[in-house]
């Protein structure tokens, strides 16, 4: 029995997978923004190792409807490099804190031509195996209201009011009933008290001795 257990332990340890060395990168899924505004695209990663000094972030842009990609921001060796030749020239800024695993960038003064997919690739040597994550940017002239926001708001407010009114109604009834009850009790008690007080007030007249005629 013991031998079987030992054998099983060895087998399990043998086939147990080593702790995963892959790095997981997180960005948003889709971002909406107004023309002319700024937007911060966030990128963070999870790694089993501490943040190394050689941590690097790379942002790659692919316009909507095109297959070509272009790098627009890069952070490596403690230095941030941004686009100084392409369409994002002077418009992109590295605002992340790599020590805190944050590799976000800020894009200023958005235009309709900025619609596209932004991919963030982070590396934390020796943790370099990871899948870059993409966020889709949509630039609008005026932000459309999300589907269902107004619907949900109206329904929520009306039902909330109904619940509130019912609660207040029953609370008032309860309070009024309690007051009536306490009033009747105090009235009954007062009557009893008054009776006993009167008896006390009425003291028998002092006995005086009249001399006998």
């Amino acid at each position: 029995m013991l031998r079987v257990l030992a054998l099983a332990a060895v087998v399990l340890l043998g086939i147990a997978p080593e702790p995963s060395q892959a790095i997981s990168i997180y960005t948003g899924w889709e971002r909406h923004a107004l023309v002319g505004s700024d937007i911060r695209l966030s990128c963070s990663f999870f790694s089993w190792r501490f943040v190394s000094d050689d941590v690097s972030f790379t942002w790659i842009y692919r316009p909507d409807g095109s297959r070509e990609t272009v790098s627009i921001a890069h952070y490596a060796g403690g230095e941030a490099y941004t686009d100084n030749k392409g369409r994002f020239k002077d418009r992109v800024e590295f605002v992340g804190n790599p020590k805190r695993r944050d590799g976000s960038i800020l894009i200023k003064n958005l235009d309709f031509s900025d619609n596209g997919t932004f991919t963030c690739d982070a590396k934390n040597p020796p943790d370099i195996v990871g899948r870059p994550s993409s966020v889709r940017l949509l630039v609008f002239e005026n932000l459309p209201i999300q589907a269902g926001v107004i619907t949900g708001a109206i329904i929520g407010v009306v039902l909330g009011l109904l619940v509130l009114i019912v609660v207040i109604y029953y609370l008032m009834r309860f309070l009024v009933a309690r007051r009536v009850f306490s009033l009747s009790v105090s009235k009954h008690g007062k009557k009893k008290k008054e009776g006993s007080q009167q008896r006390q007030l009425w003291t028998p007249p002092p006995l005086t001795c009249y001399p006998l005629p």
Binding site: A147, T151, I154, L159
Partner: protein
Amino acid sequence: MLVLAGIVVLHITTIILLLVATIDNAWWVTETATTDLWGRWDLKNLAWHYSELQKYTEVQSDFLQSVQATSVLACVFTILALFVFVAQLFTLPKGQRFIFTGVLQLIACLCIMTGASIYTAQLHTADKGQYGHSYILAWISFVLTGFLTITYVVLRKRSE
């Protein structure tokens, strides 16, 4: 006893009609499309395709959302009214009217009236086509909820 059963049956019928009006996709129909508060079915090359209404009525999406909200609220209030009616049947003292139930039904009536009116006034003002059966059911539900409101406000509880 018969009157009671009749009223309950009518109330349940109203609930069913309201639910069908809200859920079934037939507020506005054309030869190749049917649409309602939630989505739109288009017939393309002998196959039906579903699409979200957001893209279809971008201009009127605010009004559409308010119609969605009011028709859902109408369903909720009329179902609540049924439960409250049954509860009041047991708890109301003799000779009293079913005011709470009547109030809930009144709110449901007003909600569906508001919703159907907004739909009529703001949506499909320039489209070709006609109103579908869900739209008609919405108005019929308005009439029925109105009638039920009056019934509940007038009805007095007799002894059980």
